[in-house]
Amino acid sequence: MSSIEIKKSYEEINDRIKKGKAVVVTAEEMPEIVKTEGVKKAFEKVDVVTTGTFGVMCSSGAFLNFGHTKPKIRASKVWLNDVEAYGGIAAVDCYLGATQVKDDDPLNMVHPGSFSYGGGHVIEDLIAGRHVKLKAKSYGTDCYPLKEFEKTITINDLRNALLYNPRNAYQNYNVAINLSKKMKYTYMGILKPDMGNITYSSAGQLSPLLNDPYYWTIGTGTKIFLGGAAGAVTWHGTQHSPDSMRDENGMVREGAGTIAVCGDMKEMNTEFIRGASLTGYGTSLMVGIGIPIPILNEDLAFFTGLSDRDIKAQLIDYGIDYPEGNPVSLKEVTYAELKSGYVEFRGRSIPSSPLSSYPKARKIANVLREWIENGFTVGVPQLQAPTIPYMKK
């Protein structure tokens, strides 16, 4: 549990949610409330602020259990629609990673490759209820004699299908530009040569971890919206880095915190989760995540009240610096600038475009608000993600 001052408890807030009396607003609406009524009144008035994000999130995948076959197989190699899943877990369990591409994909042999099908797409096909070809191979044992198994299945034939993403919902992220003379096909999208365009990938003011920058309310046990269903934060994510650069408010100015999340694919909806093909890069998964932030004190009202004008990110060269492992900040930009469509840099006005869907992020925050208004309570984190002390200005 966090050591912060709690002026309105989880119990109080959940009690109000159960009675249908909780005041819930989205992180897009909160800045206006804080601006007109002040932090103190906003804290007293609002119980929960809902957030949302929808974008390509690598480090995603699924644990699938396809049930025991007859005769039994101890699968050591597993494929779904010719995309290999890691089978070294148990007899009929595997882990399907979002960035695994289909066997025999031409990759980048003719650059840029299109990467039309991979693990992320299999996850989407399963959630959509489409048919998927399952193939498994084994060396055979006394208790598991079968050596090959092949069957066309749907998600209903799987005993379990758990989305388990070790690193999602990055708290802030790089903004990309290309200073080289060549077109670059990156996970930050297509970047034209000579600073032709700028891309960014965050929902900014709506993004979950940017609304609770010290992870006071987000930790193991936090209940979330994941791909259209209820899910949970299971741990802090890989590469979680609370000591990244912060501004005078305490808000992170670059990629910092991350979360690991889990949910039941059988309850998800492809409106909020999609396979992705990134030209020249590979496949991945677009994930929709929403997290409710309980407003336990004025500081949380303050942070959820910050808007795109107050949140900054670093402009990085993906032409030369980033690939060489020397990313340096070329400029600090706000999400308000990025969302205006143009960023001023080196005397030029450069078009900026997003890679994460703001309309979907907004939809998720609104759906989550409806859930809470209908009784979805706020989870109490049992283990806090690593953080740093907050120095109030």
């Binding site: 299109s114 093909s277 469509g341």
Partner: protein, 140 residues
């Protein structure tokens, strides 16, 4: 005055005839070359913006067809699957003519087919395969 974008395909039999010259001289069309690709001795492809009255444009298109030029209106070439599009905005990074542009109040990606020049870059940029259709680099 109206403006349309067309892809013209000149098969090898006619690819060295001065056809475009005549649309300016005989039909008084204002044209602007947006993109061109010559596959020597095989095929010539050119994307033109044509400006003129409805009548001038109709006459010009009929003339192209009489000469054996394959004409495709670009507004009908690239399509967006509304069910697949997630409005992420990745396509707006590469669209050179603002046929795909973000509405800043809703942050949704709006598609204006009339502005499209069928360059096909949006198909490359789209992570969810929502854009389809032929472009200047289509197979022969």
């Amino acid at each position: 005055m109206k403006s349309i974008n067309v892809l013209l395909i000149f098969k090898k039999e006619i690819m060295y005839k001065p056809i475009i010259y005549r649309i300016a001289k005989d039909f008084d069309i204002i044209f602007n070359v947006l993109e061109a690709k010559i596959l020597p001795k095989l095929e010539g492809r050119i994307i033109l913006e044509l400006r003129g009255t409805d009548k001038q444009l109709d006459t010009t298109i009929s003339y192209f067809r009489e000469e054996g030029v394959e004409v495709q209106t670009l507004a009908e070439m690239i399509k967006r699957d509304e069910k697949k599009c997630v409005h992420c905005g990745a396509c707006t990074a590469v669209c050179r003519v603002d046929a795909l542009a973000i509405n800043r109040s809703t942050m949704e990606v709006e598609f204006h087919p009339d502005k499209c020049v069928a360059c096909g870059l949006c198909r490359q940029a789209c992570p969810v395969n929502a854009m389809s259709g032929t472009a200047i680099d289509r197979e022969i």
